[in-house]
Symmetry: C2
Subunit: 197 residues, 2 copies
Amino acid sequence: MPRQKRSQKRFAAILDAAAELLEQVGYAALTTNAIAARADTSIGSLYQFFPNKQAVVAELVREFRQEVQAFIGASLSVELAARDIREFVDVVVDGMEEIRVRLPGFSAVFSFRRSAGVADDQRIQLEYDIIRPLSEILAAAYPDVAAARRDRCMRIVAETTKVLMGRAAMEDEETQVWMREELKQMLGLYLSQRIGT
Amino acid sequence: MPRQKRSQKRFAAILDAAAELLEQVGYAALTTNAIAARADTSIGSLYQFFPNKQAVVAELVREFRQEVQAFIGASLSVELAARDIREFVDVVVDGMEEIRVRLPGFSAVFSFRRSAGVADDQRIQLEYDIIRPLSEILAAAYPDVAAARRDRCMRIVAETTKVLMGRAAMEDEETQVWMREELKQMLGLYLSQRIGT
DNA sequence: TGAAAAAATGAGCAAACTCTCATATTTTGT
DNA sequence: ACAAAATATGAGAGTTTGCTCATTTTTTCA
């Protein structure tokens, strides 16, 4: 762990570089040399802060998880879910989109499949960071719905949101907008029917 | 291209090995040496049939595309779509699941994101192999619906089906069953509302 | 049957990658 | 100002991987 300001800046620069590269080239093509070069530092410095390549991504995921938790705590509530579940869905979709845009590399990390077993635990936790609290909110808002159904619905909602936004990210602005709208429509209809209005 | 029976068997064995490895370790960890070893042949033979690693996957994708087209031609019809769009959705979901189970590596190839630019064209074509014909069937079954809405709906249906089945594939049998059922529910509701009964 | 064509083999080259370490530079505390 | 601690550097060691090629084995066919 860095103690001087100088090294703390490098630490942050390395993470920023990793995030940007992740966004641009994806996980498979991410290399430690490229990260160091983009962070304007030497490969040696990278390995002074991180024991290996996975650790860099793991630290990024840790930050991403915090952002997600902050968003859920700030924007989602039992009252909102109970009042209008469609509006609840809208907030979830818009919130995830905002996070994706603000944090380079987020969707790359969030979506990658079996990337040579890398940070797999962390990625799964990132998903549970969303599914679990959302399910708990629904539990409080709709106590009569069976727990199993609630969990399944939130799993569907989370997975669907994740992938459609990931796909949308690769398209032009116009396509992104309509995909988001269709997604809200679909999830709203689904939750209305499976959980309640 | 192989001319003797012996080499044609090797050609097929290499493709089978690649498909199994793709299923087991994913694209990122796929190596030509591993493919050759699993096919019980030498690395030299692999490069006698395929100019490079991408070509092996490309050939696999070519076969997958044919399977998808065959399924659509055999199982989907304008009549079915016009009669009951929910049943139409059920057939699509079950059909894709059947293909996924029958063809090792299918979901691995179908779902991978930005795998170092590999066979990207082919992967996109695979998606259009589904979206385009489905949209055409809907066009015939529901001629009053605007073309743009139809295309968007089918894109959403295809993407959602793809990812949820990909996720389901990593879970136990019980989870797969309920995810498929929830998926049918959601897509059925969505299409009923956006296209018609 | 024998020579030419086709197919098979695997050692190893070249390139790319992760990560180490001896050395140099900067910061800190006194 | 000076020594010790912290930080920075990049050449290169050690692997892995895609792919080649000289050589051997099998098949074809007159």
